[in-house]
Amino acid sequence: MNVSFNSLQYFLFLPVVYLVFYFAKDRVRWLVLLTASLLFYAALNAPYLLVVLLLVVITTYGFGICLGRARTPRAKLFLLWGGIAVNVLILVLLKYLPFLSENLKALSAFLSIHAQIQPVKVLVAIGVSFYVFQAISYLIDIYLETLKPERHLGYFALYMAFFPKLLQGPIERAGNLLPQLKVKYAFNYDNMRFGMLLFVWGLFKKAVIADRLGLFVDAVYNHAQDFTGLPLLWATYAYAFQVYMDFSGYTDMALGSALLFNIRLTQNFNSPYLATSVTDFWRRWHISFSSWILDYIFMPLQAQWRSGRHWGTAAALLVTFFVSGIWHGASWGFVIWGSLHGLYMACSVFYKPYQKKWHKALGLEKTWFLKVWQIFVTFNLLCLAFIFCRASDVRQAVYIISNLLSGAQGSQSGVGWLQGGPDLLVEVAMPLIFLAVASFCISRFKTVFQNNTLCRWFVYFFLVYGIVFLGVCHGEKFIYYQF
């Protein structure tokens, strides 16, 4: 069954869960949400996923309790690494075995070693990467004594499985979500209204902008060898906006769903394509994930390697973003994508001090021109890396990069392609126009309810009209499901 946020089933599921939650007694409300979350996950038609979730919940809960009780530093360290190892093992077994087996096979063939390596079936692993990371952060926080272990298994299970953030995050810290789950529910009209609007807003981003851009991106990327020049460039730019709208649309729908229950999840985005550097981009993109890798991978490595000064920091960045790439997907494309981001930032560690001096010497510091230039360069660096995420394999990515700026050579190249007519206008220009209007609305979003009724209803009408008449209604999957 399809229970994704943009499916009819979810449009029925959410109000039913809310009504049961609303009429339930306070002491069982957590049970209503937990049952709904487990049913939601079970509906993915992969029964083993529910077992995996319960396994992660029970082992992490157990390790958390033991960590809290451990007295000696040695015992604490043993329990921490034990808990992390179990979680990482579950993730590897479920998500990375096919990739490992495939590469081991290729390596043995390359070295002419006759090893019998059986191909491993790819399993559906929706959500696993997200809740495994959540479990690891929970254990580390207990180890660092910034969090007390949760004793109530029910609340802990709900923290791990809460359905609005189960499949694609945000990756919530226990310190943020657990206390909210225990607050007595009281109907809040503003939360209800804002939550519903946020949900519709997310749906609009997904169905009208992301999926419409996706039609164009797929048309080019699925037959990349037929194209050269401008189509490849535009499709790459369009993909950058598709991913952003897809994922931020999902996040808005998750935040909106949670708000109905008076729960505020972490905001994941802050105008990422206005970033003036790749480091700045990671402060604005998938914030719950970037703060996770910053706190639990980068900072420990950086602290450990601090005697290497800039070299230590650069090495920590390379390792952190290599892991980030692997986390995003079990393929070389994602590994290269993550490593490129690591490389961008590792280089910036060395040139940043000089960069500041040059800007000062040239009188460019704090000028609008410099800011626009930095945004432009950063966006293009991001797009270059995105090619490895979207291309079917590394070979195709290399073809696209080497033909991005080439002239009219392919069967569908630059100028001829631009004369493609109305189809092109519908597929590329319209989503971007909507994006511009939507961006304007986003900037007004927080104050929309303080505006006059006419303005409010205009926004409602705009969103519903967009979804009904311009949305791509094939129940397209969210891109981040694969992670």
Binding site: T279, M299, P300
Partner: protein, 81 residues
């Protein structure tokens, strides 16, 4: 309270003229103190006081007050050793 000595080391490392450091001040509130310069500041503090912080001690730091407490603890341990 943040000692004048600790304040001086941090200001020097971040190339700041002055800043009103409080116990509750967090790194991101100080100009130039980002995740990249974080270890350089800690290295400067270690060098100034001739102490060594464990990785777990660094990860537990939430604000400047915590850093001051950690430095004081390290100095006390050195004196009693």
């Amino acid at each position: 309270m943040i000692s004048a000595r600790l304040k001086k080391v941090i200001l020097k490392e971040l190339k700041l003229k002055d800043f009103d450091f409080q116990d509750t001040t967090r790194a991101f509130q100080v100009p130039g103190w980002d995740s990249l310069s974080h270890t350089l500041v800690l290295l400067a503090v270690e060098k100034e006081y001739e102490v060594h912080f464990k990785t777990s001690e660094i990860l537990r730091l939430r604000n400047l007050g915590d850093l001051q407490v950690l430095v004081d603890k390290k100095i006390m341990n050195q004196n009693t050793a």
